[in-house]
Symmetry: D2
Subunit: 335 residues, 4 copies
C-alpha cells in the first residue's frame, strides 16, 4: 500500500449495492479495504478479496479513515454518527441523511429520524453540488430514482425554464436489483419473468420526497412531481422517462444545446446526439448517466435519463463522492 492509501470499511457489503462497492473499491488504487460487514453472510469470503465478512458489531471504526454505509435506513445513521465522532469520513448510501429535515424524514419513512443532529448533510449529486462535496466529511449518497431524475432535469431547473406550477411527470422503470437482495414474493423469478408492473404509484414512493426537496432548491416554482416507478424484468438498469412543459421564452428545440453545454465537461454524464435514444444498454455495468432529448411540441419536451441503479445510482456515485472528499481524480476506478 502506498503512502496515500485510504483505509476503508464497507458496512452492508453483501447486498447488491454493497457487492458493487466491493468490486469498484478492489480496483481503486488509493483504497485499502479493511473490513466488509454482513449480518447474513458473516464468515463467508468477500468476493474478489482476501477478506471474510464480519458482523457489523465487530467492525473496528478506529482502523479506518472512511466508511461506506450500504445499510437499511434507520440502521445507517447511528453508524454514521459513531464514525463521524471518531473522525472517520462517511459515505451513506441509505436514505437516512438525504432529507434535510427530520420532520420530512418522519413523513416519508414513518419513523422518527434516528440521529436528527446529523442533518443536514451535503447531498452527493456531484454534477449539481460538486463545490459543497469536495473535502466534505459526510455525504448523503442520492437514491437511484432521484439521481436519474434530477440529472435529467437539472439544466432546466437551474435555468428556471419549466412552466411555473406545471407538473413534472416521471414514468420510471427499474431492474430488480433495486428491490434488494433479500428474497421477497415480488422478486421471485417466476413473478417477474415475462411481467412488467407499476408499484408505489401516485406519489407514494419514498423517493418523491427526496426528488421534490432537491427540485425545490433549484427552482421553487416547479409544479408537483407525478412519479410512477415500474419493475422491469432485468437485473440492473433504471430509466426515468420525463415529460415536462416549458415556460415561455424557451422552446424544446433549444434543449439539446443547453444539455450538451451543461454536461460538456462532466466525465460521467453523456448527452446523446439528436435522434439517438438513451437505453439501459448505454449504462448497465458502467458508472455513467446517459440522457436523450426529444422535442415533442415547442412547449413539451420528453427526456430519457438512464443509469445503472447499482452504479451511478448507488456504488459508483458513492465512490465518485469518495474521490472528491479525498481529493483524488473524481473518476478514479470509475471509467
Amino acid at each position: 500500500m502506498t503512502h496515500s492509501t485510504i483505509r476503508t470499511g464497507v458496512f452492508g457489503a453483501s447486498g447488491y449495492a454493497g457487492l458493487d462497492l466491493i468490486e469498484i473499491l478492489t480496483g481503486h488504487p488509493q483504497v485499502e479495504l479493511v473490513f466488509a460487514t454482513s449480518g447474513t453472510y458473516a464468515g463467508q469470503p468477500v468476493p474478489g478479496t482476501d477478506l471474510h465478512y464480519i458482523p457489523p458489531a465487530e467492525a473496528d471504526l478506529s482502523a479506518v479513515q472512511a466508511v461506506f454505509l450500504a445499510l437499511p435506513h434507520k440502521a445507517s445513521a447511528p453508524v454514521a454518527a459513531r464514525a463521524a465522532a471518531g473522525g472517520v469520513k462517511v459515505l451513506d448510501l441509505s436514505a437516512d441523511l438525504r432529507l434535510d429535515s427530520p420532520a420530512v424524514y418522519e413523513t416519508w419513512y414513518d419513523t422518527p429520524h434516528p440521529c436528527p443532529e446529523l442533518l443536514p448533510v451535503p447531498y452527493g449529486l456531484v454534477e449539481v453540488n460538486r463545490a459543497r462535496l469536495a473535502g466534505a466529511s459526510m455525504v448523503a449518497v442520492p437514491g437511484c430514482y432521484p439521481t436519474c431524475t434530477l440529472l435529467g432535469l437539472y439544466p432546466l431547473l437551474r435555468d428556471g425554464l419549466l412552466q411555473d406550477g406545471a407538473p413534472v411527470i416521471v414514468d420510471a422503470k427499474s431492474g430488480v436489483s433495486g428491490a434488494g437482495r433479500e428474497p421477497k414474493p415480488h422478486t421471485h423469478f417466476v413473478e417477474v419473468f415475462g411481467n412488467f408492473s407499476p408499484y408505489a404509484p401516485g406519489r407514494s414512493h419514498r423517493h418523491v420526497g427526496e426528488i421534490e426537496q432537491e427540485i425545490a432548491k433549484l427552482d421553487a416554482s416547479t409544479g408537483p412531481l407525478i412519479f410512477t416507478p415500474h419493475l422491469l424484468p432485468v437485473d440492473r438498469g433504471l430509466m426515468s422517462s420525463i415529460y415536462v412543459t416549458l415556460g415561455t421564452g424557451f422552446t424544446s428545440d433549444e434543449a439539446q444545446a443547453l444539455y450538451e453545454q451543461t454536461y460538456a465537461a462532466e466525465p460521467l454524464v453523456r448527452v446523446l446526439p439528436p435522434g439517438q435514444q438513451a437505453t439501459l444498454r448505454h449504462v448497465v455495468r458502467n458508472n455513467t448517466c446517459a440522457i436523450s432529448l426529444t422535442p415533442v411540441t415547442a412547449q413539451h419536451l420528453h427526456i430519457t435519463s438512464v443509469i445503472d441503479n447499482l452504479r451511478k445510482g448507488a456504488a459508483g456515485q458513492a465512490v465518485q463522492n469518495f474521490n472528491l472528499m479525498f481529493g483524488f481524480d473524481e473518476t478514479t476506478a470509475l471509467l
Copy 2:
C-alpha cells in the same frame, strides 16, 4: 361442421398475430378454417390444424364467407377490396383501413392509399363502436397501442372530462412480438435481453395518427398526444401508462366509479379495484384489457391500461369483431 359454421380464411397466418388467430379460430365452434396463407412458410403445416400454408395467390376467396387479413399495410387493402367485391366479410388487422382519410394515411405511411375507395371503414374498437360493428361487412381492427390507449381514455373522452387543450401523455411499452416475426437487428435476442429502449418517440410512431383520429371523434377539444413507445424484454404484453389533466368539475377520485360503471357490462375489459395496479400478468395470453386508476392530485390522474398485444391488441379483438359481425356471442372462443 354444423349448419351455422362460417367458412373462414386467414391471410398472413404465419406472423405472430396470424398464429394467435389460428389458435383462437381452431377453438371457435362456429368457424371452419378453410385456408391459411403464408409467403414465407408455404407448404409447411399450420400449427394445431390439418392444413398446410398456401401462398396468398392460391387462396380461393370464393370458398369462404369471411377473411382475416394479418398482412403488412399496403398489401392488405387490395385483398380486402377483392374479398368485399365477392361478398366476403373482411376483418383487416393491418393499418390500411383504420384511418378514415386517404390523405392522413399518406401522411403517416409515406405512400398513397392502395384502395381509397374503401374508406372509411367501421373502426373495430368494440367497447366504443359496438353499434356500428354488429353486422358490418368490413372492419378495421384497431392497432395494439390504439386499443390499449383508447380503452384507457374512453370514459373520460366520452364525457368530456379532460382539460381542454391539455396534452395526453402516454408512456407505452410493448413486448417484442409487436415488432413482427421477420428477424431484424433490433429483435435479435442479444439486443433485447437485459435492455429496455424507447423507439419512435416524439409523435413519430404511426399509431399517433390513429389514436388522435379516434380521440377527436370522442372529444375534439383534447390537447396533443405525447406518445412514446418502448421495447420491453418480454415476448408479449403491452402497457399504456397514461397521464392526464382533468377539467374543472371532475376530480381524480371520481374516476374509479366512472370507469367501473362504463365497463361494468363489458366482458373483455376489467377495471381493477382501487389500490391494485394493472400488470402484464393480468392479460398475457388472454383476450381482455385491464385498467387501474391512480389519483395523483385532484386534477391529475394516472391510468394504467394493459393488453396482450397479440390478443386484445390484434387476434382476439379481430375475433370479437367477427363474432359481432356474424351475430355470435361476442366472447365466443375468447374466454
Copy 3:
C-alpha cells in the same frame, strides 16, 4: 352442477402446482370445486373462482369426494390418511406416497415416513400403469423429473433393450417454478437472470430414488442412474436429456419406430418425427410430453423428453389420474 359432478377440494392451492390445478379444474365440466386451502394466502380470493382460500385446518373432508394434495412432503400423507379414512379419493402430488418402502423414503427424505401404513400406493404414471390406476382410490402423482425421464425411457425399459449394467445418464433442466413459490435466495430474479446452474448433482437429488424404483420395476438389470438437474432461467418447462447404451440385438435407428408404436395411442405423449428436436416450446402450458430421438452411434441413443413441470409434471398429470379414477375421458380438461 350436473348429476355426475365430483365435489373436489385442493390442499396447497396457492403454490405453483396448486394454481395450475385450480386453473385446470375450473375448466373441468365434471368438477365442482368445494374448497382450496392455503396457509399463506388464507382469506384471499382463489384466482378464476368465487372461492377464498381457507386454512387447511378448516377444510371439511366430509364435503368432498376427492382431494388433490399439493402440499409439502411429510405434511401430505397425514391428510391423505384422513381423507382415505373418510372414503375420499386422494391424488397426492407430494413425494409422500411415491416410494413403495418407508425405509427408502427415510433414506431420501431424512425423516421417518409419516404414515407407513399407506404404502405402497399406485404410481400415477398413466402411460405405464394405466390398468392399476383406473378406479384406484389413492394415487401417488409422480414427480416432475421422474415423469419426464421415465416417459423418455419407458419403451426401452419395457422391452429390455438397454445394455445390462450400463449407466443411464440424465442431464436435466427445469424452470424456476419447480423450486416452489416460497421466496428463497436461489429463486431471486437477480440470481437466476442470465445464469444457468447445476444443483443437487451426483445422485443427491431426491428424485433419484423415485426414478430408480420405477426403472427397476421395468428392467431390473439397468445400470446406475447418473442424474444432474439444472436451474433454467425460464418460469416453466423441464427437459430430460437422456443418454443410453443399447444392448445387442437393437440399434439406435430402430428406436423411432419403437417409440412411435408405443405411444401411438397416447393422447398426451407426442413422439416427434425424425430430425425434429423436442424443446420447451412444445409443452409449456399444455399437458403433454414430447419426445425426440437421436441415434448417435448404432449403440448410443440420445433421447430428449420435455414436459411442463407444472402440467404433465404435476397438475395436468394429477387431473389425468383423476379422470381415470372416476371413469371420465382421460383427457377431459387437458386438451
Copy 4:
C-alpha cells in the same frame, strides 16, 4: 504510444466476438488499434474508440504487425494468408485454421479448404499447447465448445485415465451470442424467450471434428464423442456438462486433486472446491474457465466446465494467445 506497442488490426470487428475483442484491446496497454473492419457497419463509429469501421478491402495490412480475424469461415483463411505473406502475425478466430487436415475440414464444412497450404497451424488452447504458441506467427484460436470441453477433459486425457473406447458424453449449452449477430429466425427474441432447445445433435455439430482431433492428440484410445449443444435463453455464457467413465486404477474421488494440481498455476482456469458447482455466473464477462467435479460412482465422473463464449471462448483467448506470441504477460488486459 510506447516503444513496445503493437500496431494491430481487427477484421470482423462488428460481430459479437469482434466487439468483445475491441473492448479488450482498447484496454490493452501494448496495443495500438489501427483499424477495425466491418462489411455491415462500415462508416459507423467503433465503440469505445476514435475509429470508424472500414470495409475489409480497405484495410492496410502493411500498417499493422498483428491482425485478429473474427470473420466467417472460408472468408478468414485468405486474409490470414495475405497477412502472413506480409509478415503480419495472425490470430484467427474462425474455424479455418483449426483442423490440421484439409480433408477433415472439407468433411465438416462442406467446402474445399480455401488455403490448404497454411495447415497445420498451432492450436491456441493455451493451457494445453503453451510451448508451441509462444512466439508463433499464426494461431488458430479454438472454438467456444472445444475450449470449454477440452479444458474440462484435459487432465484425464493427458494422463490416460479414461476407460478405453468408452464414449465421452457432452451435454452443452450456449448463450445466443454464440449464434452470431446477423438476425435469423432462431435468434429472434420471441423464439428464444422462455424456450430451451437442442440443435445440431448426434455428432452433426461442426465442433465435433475439432474436439475429437484434439482429444485424439492427447489420448488416442478415447471412445466416441457424444455431443449435443443447446440454445440457452441468455446472451452469453457456455457450459459443457461432461460425463465420463474412468479406467481401472483411478477413481472419481481422485479427480479433484488431479485437476487442482493441473491447473494450480493457470491464471485463467479455476477449479472450484468440492461441493461448489460451476455456473455461468462464474465466468460471464470475464476471461476465465471454471470447472467443478462431481464423483457420481467410483467409475463415473461428472465434470461441469463453463466459459463466456465470447471471452475465454473467443476474444479473451485470442488476446491470451496474442500476449504469448508477443512475449507480454499472458494475462495482460484479461484480469
